[in-house]
């Protein structure tokens, strides 16, 4: 009984061992397959390009179809034998022998330090610029630059003097304020640079001066000038305000006096009219008997001119008195 059990157990153990061996075999095969596939393929992402080199010599260059406008390298160059493939995705290589180097195909931004620059008319500014650049030919880049950091330094050494030279020819006014002139200068610089860097597999897509500032020593004097300028404007405004005020006050005075003058004229005229009319009335009436009028009017004058509060000192012969006496006595005498 126990034997059969033992045999059964041994048989089970043997069978189990065989099963695991099969399983390991399958697993090992799968692992081998994966290693082989991964070693003989590589993927180039949407923003990437690649160089495939065999023992240091470039065999395949996988370029971005959008930016590489060439189908083969010229005869006699180091890349003569390299095959150009335009595209992205999955590619094959010889495992363990081919070495793949990938470079990005997208735009890199180079930014300069803030540097002093003189314009054609000897004005100083600090400017900072940036350039958008890309690797359009990973094959040439692989041979000449190898790394992005090396390329950045290479571009820095080229771009800055080129731009400075172009700016030196511009007047300050053009450099600061003329979009067209500056753009022309930058495009010119860009074209020159692209000729120089062509063999490095690089191209500059755009250069811009993004920041221009005054040297620190000029800033205070600029502030002072702005302040003086504003002070002038303020002073002018105040002077104008006073001038306006004085003018309008004088005008108001003039208008007032003219109004009064007109009124004087008018009132004198009215008074004259009144007087004239009164005279006419008098004349018309008194001309009836001028003699009597003179008499009557003299009496009135006498009466009004010798009013109350008068002290009369009369000679006894004075007509006022004597006449009265005479009339009185005469009348009696008669």
């Amino acid at each position: 009984m126990s034997n059969t059990i033992n045999v059964n157990g041994r048989m089970k153990t043997q069978e189990m061992g065989r099963g695991i061996r099969n399983l390991l075999l399958i697993a090992g095969f799968l692992v081998l397959l994966i290693v082989l596939v991964s070693a003989s393929t590589f993927s180039v992402n949407e923003h990437e390009q690649a160089v495939v080199a065999r023992f240091g010599s470039v065999r395949k260059v996988i370029v971005d179809p959008e930016y590489a406008a060439f189908d083969s390298y010229e005869k006699g160059s180091q890349l003569e034998n390299a095959k150009i493939i335009k595209g992205k995705g999955l590619f094959f290589k010889v495992p363990f022998i081919d070495k793949v180097t990938k470079y990005d195909s997208w735009l890199y931004t180079y930014v300069s330090d803030s540097e002093e620059v003189n314009t054609g008319d000897k004005k100083q500014y600090f400017m900072t610029m940036f350039a958008q650049w890309r690797i359009y030919d990973p094959g040439r880049f692989f041979l000449t630059q190898k790394s992005i950091s090396k390329a950045s330094l290479y571009l820095d050494n080229l771009i800055y003097p080129e731009i400075v030279q172009n700016v030196n020819d511009l007047s300050a006014d053009d450099f600061i304020s003329s979009k067209e002139v500056l753009n022309d200068a930058l495009t010119n610089a860009q074209n020159n640079l692209n000729k120089k860097i062509k063999n490095s597999g690089l191209m500059i897509a755009d250069i811009q001066v993004h920041r221009t500032s005054l040297p620190a020593s000029n800033i205070q004097s600029t502030y002072n000038r702005m302040i003086a300028d504003r002070a002038k404007v303020a002073q002018q405004l105040r002077a104008e305000g006073n001038e306006d005020y004085e003018k309008r006050v004088a005008e108001a005075d003039l208008e007032a006096r003219r109004t009064i003058a007109n009124a004087i004229e008018e009132s004198e005229r009215l008074k004259g009219e009144g007087d004239a009319e009164a005279l006419a009335i008098y004349a018309e009436s008194y001309s009836v008997d001028e003699d009597f009028y003179s008499f009557w009017r003299s009496l009135q004058a006498l009466e009004t001119s010798l009013g109350s509060n008068t002290t009369l000192v009369l000679d006894s012969d004075h007509p006022l008195w004597s006449g009265l006496l005479q009339w009185a006595t005469g009348d009696i005498a008669e």
């Binding site: 303020a234 018309e284 009369l312």
Partner: protein, 313 residues
């Protein structure tokens, strides 16, 4: 028997793992999102339709990018903390960005924002290494160049014109980079003179106000003086009119009186004449306060006769 079972179990595990991978390879596209299906890194499918999708495991990956999200980017300042319902947002300035020179070599501080959205995920993700950084450089270039194109006074006053000029320049530059974004809006938040010269600018504002004030004062003076003169003129004319009427009326009264007297006079001229004379003397004598009659006698002494009005004393 058992070995086959174990092999089958192993295969089962592998199939199960494959199934699990398939399940994990499901992905969802939200409304407004664009999904790029990358097969070994290459874009092989672009999908804008919201829904549930599946990609091949290992060989394919999916990159998603919202096309509706609006990114607000700041220039010349940064938001330190966004406002909440109970507190306002706080900002801090970025002097080195904000300080700009103008055409007339003055200095101005400009703060701006720009709003962008992605219109092409592939271009946005793969055409530039750092799209937001690139946009910031492009914006700085365009904004500064437009400010540099203006004299300070124009720059300070024409915010809307600057926005209108920056927008197309910015769009043009970004189009050249093929960056896959739309510029929704460019907004100048603030355009002011630096603190150092602020007081001088405020003084100009004061001077403007003072000018207006002087103007008002002049108007006030005018409103005081001219109507007063008109009133005076009016009263002068009224006085004259009154004088005229009075004079005429007096004349008419005098004439009427004269005529009356004259009517009597012509009836008996001598007597009336004398009566009038006597009456007048009488009145004079009555009216006079002190009356003295002096007589020049032959012996040279002055005879003095005071005639005091008995009733008056």
């Amino acid at each position: 028997m058992l070995s086959r079972k174990i092999t089958l179990a192993g295969i089962g595990v592998i199939i199960l793992m494959a199934l699990l991978m398939c399940v994990f390879s499901l992905y969802r596209i939200e409304e407004g999102e664009q999904a790029l299906v990358l097969t070994f890194g290459e874009v092989t499918d672009i999908n804008n339709e919201a829904g549930l999708y599946w990609h091949i495991p290992i060989a394919q990956t999916v990159q998603k990018q919202s096309l509706t999200e609006i990114y607000t980017l700041e220039y010349g300042f940064r938001t330190a903390s966004a406002g909440t319902t109970s507190s306002g947002a706080t900002y801090y300035p970025r002097e080195e960005e904000a300080v700009m020179i103008t055409r007339d070599s003055s200095i101005v501080n400009v703060e701006a924002i720009y709003l962008v959205s992605v219109n092409d995920a592939e271009k946005f993700l793969y055409n530039t290494r750092a799209p937001f950084e690139t946009m910031q450089f492009a914006f700085e270039t365009v904004l500064r160049r437009n400010i540099q194109n203006l004299n300070l006074d124009d720059a300070l006053l024409n915010k809307l014109d600057i926005e209108a000029a920056v927008l197309p320049d910015f769009e043009e530059l970004l189009a050249a980079y093929d960056i896959g974004v739309d510029v929704q809006e460019v907004r100048i938040q603030n355009i002011i003179v630096p603190d150092e010269v602020m007081s001088a600018y405020q003084d100009v504002t004061n001077a403007k106000n003072e000018k207006t004030q002087r103007n008002d004062e002049a108007e006030k003076y005018y409103n005081e003086v001219v109507p007063a003169a008109r009133a005076e003129a009016y009263s002068m004319i009224q006085d004259a009119e009154a004088y005229k009427a009075e004079t005429i009326a007096t004349a008419q009264g005098d004439v009427a009186l004269f005529n009356e007297v004259y009517q009597k006079y012509i009836l008996s001229p001598d007597i009336t004449r004398r009566r009038l004379l006597i009456e007048t003397i009488e009145k004079i004598m009555n009216n006079a306060e002190h009356k003295y009659i002096v007589e020049d006698s032959e012996d040279g002494t002055l005879k003095f006769l005071p005639l005091e009005g008995g009733a008056n004393e």
